[in-house]
Symmetry: C2
Subunit: 415 residues, 2 copies
Amino acid sequence: MPPIDQKASNTPNTGAGPHLLSQQSRQATSSAIRDLLVHARRPGVISLAGGLPSTELFPTTSLVAAASTILSQPQNLQYGLTEGEMRLREIVADIHTTDDQLPITPDDVQIVSGSQQALDLIARVTLDPGDEVVVGDSEYLGAIGAFRGAGGRLVPIPIDSHGLDVDTLAGQLRRGLRPKLCYLIPEFHNPTGESITAERLSRLAILSDRYAFLIVEDNPYGALRFDGEPVRTMASMTDNVVRCRTISKTIAPGLRVAWMIGPGWLLDAVRVAKQSVDLHTPTVTQHLAATLLGNTDAHQSHMSRLASHYMDRRDSLMGALRDHMPEGRFASPAGGMFLWLSLPESVDTNRLLPLALDRGVAFVPGSAFAVSGTARHSMRLSYSTATPSELREAVERLAAALTDWADGPGVSSPP
Amino acid sequence: MPPIDQKASNTPNTGAGPHLLSQQSRQATSSAIRDLLVHARRPGVISLAGGLPSTELFPTTSLVAAASTILSQPQNLQYGLTEGEMRLREIVADIHTTDDQLPITPDDVQIVSGSQQALDLIARVTLDPGDEVVVGDSEYLGAIGAFRGAGGRLVPIPIDSHGLDVDTLAGQLRRGLRPKLCYLIPEFHNPTGESITAERLSRLAILSDRYAFLIVEDNPYGALRFDGEPVRTMASMTDNVVRCRTISKTIAPGLRVAWMIGPGWLLDAVRVAKQSVDLHTPTVTQHLAATLLGNTDAHQSHMSRLASHYMDRRDSLMGALRDHMPEGRFASPAGGMFLWLSLPESVDTNRLLPLALDRGVAFVPGSAFAVSGTARHSMRLSYSTATPSELREAVERLAAALTDWADGPGVSSPP
């Protein structure tokens, strides 16, 4: 037997290394928010930068009780169906049939490991490299990451106080844009806090039919509404929609349970993809979610507590902003966790951030969410985890940082 | 404002549909095993087709106790780190440092949602379309799906009674093959049941260094050994290896907890990819795994029970095969869940399967796992879920089906 490498002596002896990474992976970088949160965790910093739900609202007692039943039944610990546990899909179908007044069966539901996985799977089964995806400008970073990860080309459309600017989209479609997907957070958009109007939704539905694209309706915050009327799902207007819903903001994100409701041709492809991705979402967390969602009365009381908790904090933040930062403009978020604050155009929030961290407060600069625009004088403030008094203190610190700014760099230079 | 679709009247009004699927998704099909298991679930059928661990061995009592502590601490329910919970990574690092006598830190560990996700993430961050991946011929279907899903081109290498045929691989490398990955199940290979020899491992390590490819060492079954000495990890021989380990076969698959240990350049890319894929593995299931793995004495007793349980079943299956199917050839599996049975070359196990189902027994035909070969007269039998008496009954039924075969189709025709 000859030495195995006799003829290969001219091959460089390097071993495996970064040259084995795919082109995509060599270009990928960590998210700006992730890198930023390292600084936001400095002792003494009040962080309005995160997007975490409030830990104190997690229904631990209900979960402990549910787990004791679920884990004592060994069949709940076996490999499960790729589409998700029937018990959870039945409960989800019932909830949507009632809430949306649109009949849904368990077959219409695909359980996923958080909404992020829904976005990744949708991107993976629809996008070929270069396919176009309509997103807001600014937009949720996780969606941007999922669409770009599948090779999608982002087409940013402005978001104004009525939500995604459907007129601008219609114009681009008339001029030849043919997207495969249109991503939409209909209520309390992350990061802008805006909700889309019913009139725009119905026009978007008509466009989706005419131009044959799929609307990805991602609504993680809709259940956290404290003012006004819910926005109806686009599924009441068109079949060209896949709905993504999650328990991450209402029960607990650490369970990583979410679901998709969409057309059969899409869910069939998603199920095949999910077999390769992770076989199925954990059965145990699905059963925990099913028990809590299925206990309707207790869940509704829990949701009322949540809404009242977050409304108090929104009010504290808005009050402090009115008192201490009269130069800031913002819409009053009717739900969700985020307030989008716009400062005078002379302020560059990227460059304000280090000053704010020095003063002991963290936020996310608007540019972190920008697709084509810069959102340079805006920032996202989260009121979900700080207490009312921390929120007031945070705004005072932010106002002080703004004074530091006026004393220092002054007028911003182009990026 | 003009009608939004005035200029688009020549666009066909089709709405969203299957034409929006990516090329990959239009080609993808469900796995043969998945389709087959529908028939294996018919009432009265004894299924040796599945790959499920035995439900009766799941440590329900330990899990209930662990959950009650874990779920009562709300911080365990919050969003977590993409790399995994520190507590679990510490325990995993300790286990590997002790068992493999190679120092490992928590930073070397990435927690994933089952080994399937490890394979998918590795494929995703390394493979560009057309990149070559060495696999066994026959091979685990989940690995084939993950590598093909990322556009990988499979290069099948035969597996014999000493494991992957490294001589054949060396020859192909000398003739110019430059794979990015080499997939390896070192112990109790699925489906062939074979383990690789130490001599082949050390030659494979040299090849990986010379030809700069990464070895994906996937070892879900190694902990279920009842005879002989463990195979050492390739990490003791080369840095060109990523180890994939799981609790699915030892604690419970429904938790979907597994981990990867590999070089920093790979784990860095995997962490960025996992942020887009699902943010992180559920915190709750990670803490359950940590509690059970961290309770060393109880876990070792549990593992002894498992080994003894599966050994009894292997012995029952082998005894019945010797008694009732003397024409079958098989190696005695020293662990794991599978026995690879080869029948006379005249038998086509694809065509035997319907006869076997009629007799009330299910198996997976070898062709389901074939990459370039056919494995046409082989089948995979699992002894993990049937009782000893069911295993004997199953083999009697299989022998009867073989008699039906001899009476019926007889000599097989080419596929």
